[in-house]
Symmetry: C2
Subunit: 514 residues, 2 copies
Amino acid sequence: MGTPVSIPLYILLSLLILHSLSSNSSAYSDHPRHRSSKHAPRFLGKFSRPFNQIHQQNEYEYETLFFEQRLDHFSFAKLPSFQQKYLINTHHWVGPSRLGPIFFYCGNEGNIEWFAANTGFLWELAPRFGAMVIFPEHRYYGESMPYGSREIAYKNASTLSYLTAEQALADYAVLITELKRNLSAQACPVVLFGGSYGGMLAAWMRLKYPHVAIGALASSAPILQFEDIVPPETFYDIVSNDFRRESISCFQTIKESWDVIASKGQENDGLNQLTKTFRFCRKLNSSEDLSNWLDSAYSYLAMVDYPYPAGFLMPLPANPIKEVCSRIDSGPNGTSILQRIFEGVSVYYNYTGTVECFNLDDDPHGMSGWDWQACTEMVMPLASSKESSMFPAFDYNYTDDEEGCWIAFNVKPRPTWISTEFGGHDIKNTLKTFGSNIIFSNGLLDPWSGGSVLEDISETIVTLVTEKGAHHLDLRAATDKDPDWLVEQRESEVKLIKNWLKDYYENRRATFAV
Amino acid sequence: MGTPVSIPLYILLSLLILHSLSSNSSAYSDHPRHRSSKHAPRFLGKFSRPFNQIHQQNEYEYETLFFEQRLDHFSFAKLPSFQQKYLINTHHWVGPSRLGPIFFYCGNEGNIEWFAANTGFLWELAPRFGAMVIFPEHRYYGESMPYGSREIAYKNASTLSYLTAEQALADYAVLITELKRNLSAQACPVVLFGGSYGGMLAAWMRLKYPHVAIGALASSAPILQFEDIVPPETFYDIVSNDFRRESISCFQTIKESWDVIASKGQENDGLNQLTKTFRFCRKLNSSEDLSNWLDSAYSYLAMVDYPYPAGFLMPLPANPIKEVCSRIDSGPNGTSILQRIFEGVSVYYNYTGTVECFNLDDDPHGMSGWDWQACTEMVMPLASSKESSMFPAFDYNYTDDEEGCWIAFNVKPRPTWISTEFGGHDIKNTLKTFGSNIIFSNGLLDPWSGGSVLEDISETIVTLVTEKGAHHLDLRAATDKDPDWLVEQRESEVKLIKNWLKDYYENRRATFAV
């Protein structure tokens, strides 16, 4: 894997883009030290796809509207405004006179339709609460492009410079305030939902704009994964443990495979052999490319190690890691490590068995919004430990990141800004003292859970943790295969949301009863 | 007074600048409708002066240092950094190992040395608490100039665009965080102090960056004076009442004087006569100029209607309004209204009796930072009521403001942004639910008290209100003429600060005792 880089590329559930959304080559991707960083844990954007490519029928109805937003909320620089897309459904809303709630999903780093299609829990809840549903798109993603087009918005550091979490939060605060004003719904309670980066936004919104919503469900939100708040090894340790718990030999095989791959790559004709073994469509340029490709697969598998078949990242069976390990382990005696690995990773890249050869571009790494965010604010340190990780060991090296970001974007990260802006290094204490009404839900198979809040912080900032859940499983639509623990987790969330609303309505009555 | 404009120009105690800091003429000041706005309640900046002009000896010692700040904290736009000045004194600081407190004054809109010289209360407190004292300068004021010079920083809306409250708060959050890191003082508790706009910043800092300081003393901080949260007439009503409580006839005389002035101004040779009566050095251009000059004086008098002689705005006796009214009332029968007014206002502009003639420029109105702030975020509606105000009646007219700001600065205000960003329209409730450890201190003679918090909000957000205090009197140094109620107000503040620190230290012990 070369030098695994701690570029904090962050992913969500996503559909694999068969055709890259954008694959501008860049100095960044060419830089040898950082070729591997493209294969660090994924961000969402590269996996979300335009709605018309989503093969599942969209069962949710909404209107698609646009709202004019300032490009920089915190200055009066003369900048063009941009159109922020949002999806809205008022079918079940009981209206302003009955203080009907507003369910507001904090859009993450991708097309909002894709999030809408994958957040069935919210849609299922809306009729039960008589709620309006709003899915705003995060700036610089999907169609919500400053300067009118992605091409210009992503042109350089200058045009990208307004892609920050604080700007996104301000977008949401302004959108909510204005929408409510326009609908004469100022008194309607807003409940925030978000998963992954969106969950972080929802939680941060409770701290920075507590008056805008009454509570937030922050699912799989690693708000602690900054600076040294949690150990940097946690991500890869959890991925590794997801494999080891299925099979120690599987874990071992993967752990040993990296050296085998690197050695093979050194041999005469080694790359050709690797290309053949792993059935790539085009000859590998380096063994590192292969290692990165594998690294990605394992990370994604951990994130979507769901208890039922699902086709979000790739078409996968239930408990896909179990299947991967089964194939890795079950080769007859004499099967090479590389062959075992190939069989295993094919679960991820080719479960349907219909793929004839693999393109590295199937995992495109074009410069994306999240690459930018990781190079500016979302500096989330990663490392791989010698013992507990099945990945090659590496320490977190900020200088490498900084260098890579300069080469890629001509920008210098600000690794301590997020904690200065959102709650400080001791953010748990900040939440305890100043926060309220947040649910941190997590599944412990999710590698990002290690950076999230896993213990109750206060009476109203609580955690709902499932041992066998993965990356924001709870936000997905209900299925008839949901295990009990998942059903319970969701019902607990519903209870808590009910209580927020109940408190809100009671306080209002009390206020007006005097 | 022409059309009194609701441009929210905000002032603090200040020394009259004998020579304008900057007096670029501008379209704004020439615009007839807005000539009067320059005479709306004053902002601080135009009164603060470079340290070497302050006639009182500075009795406080400090080092003057500079800290490099980003120009835009909330984007990654390639902008030059700027040097933020701060004054620091560690003489009494008991140091990091003893968790010595840090007293941090939230610099307002002017030279920081001037604020330091006028915030004796903080200096007096520091030794009692073993505290470090820091006075950071607000960006775009004093020497803390983006682009290296005031000339460039104030050149146009583009260069000024980063003069916003959110940027200032981020400056303070970053400065505190970095200073503490450099001094290994991360565990030292920070207490914020601020008066007027600075008090607003201190209170807002408790909402937006609650992890950065443990509490704030917000003196004379009109955080409610936005949109329609308080009646827009409140400012001028309080000024008027400050006069009426001294003498009803005084109030009446002033109330009637505006028409007399306007009529006189219409007469042939009327302006000459007014110029003579009021002893201006140069002939008046309009009667409006005179009215604005008087309006200013009355507003300032209300703000610094102190119970002891002081020379902050102008050299004034104790209870200056009483003296003004005494002079207005005491002219023998037959004294014209204008003559009475002249005698009265001379208390403000010429108490020493040494001024031979008055310059309108003595009250310079050069485009200043506060003019900009009032035209962008700090949109604080003002109006004057028919009955209770001694000023000519006018309604708040946002459109006029908007027009004036466009002419002056080529910028459009955002009148609802402050409430979106800081706590919402129902900010009192926001404070109650999410805030803590704020003291709102006010004096009811202060016209800005009407926009401040005057009732306890919670157990830890309390108010200390004195009937006879004026604009952040409590922040000033103790004098042997302090009335008991002032001494008590300060001692209450000290008690509350002590409690914050006590709680902080106890919580830390509890945390580490486990």
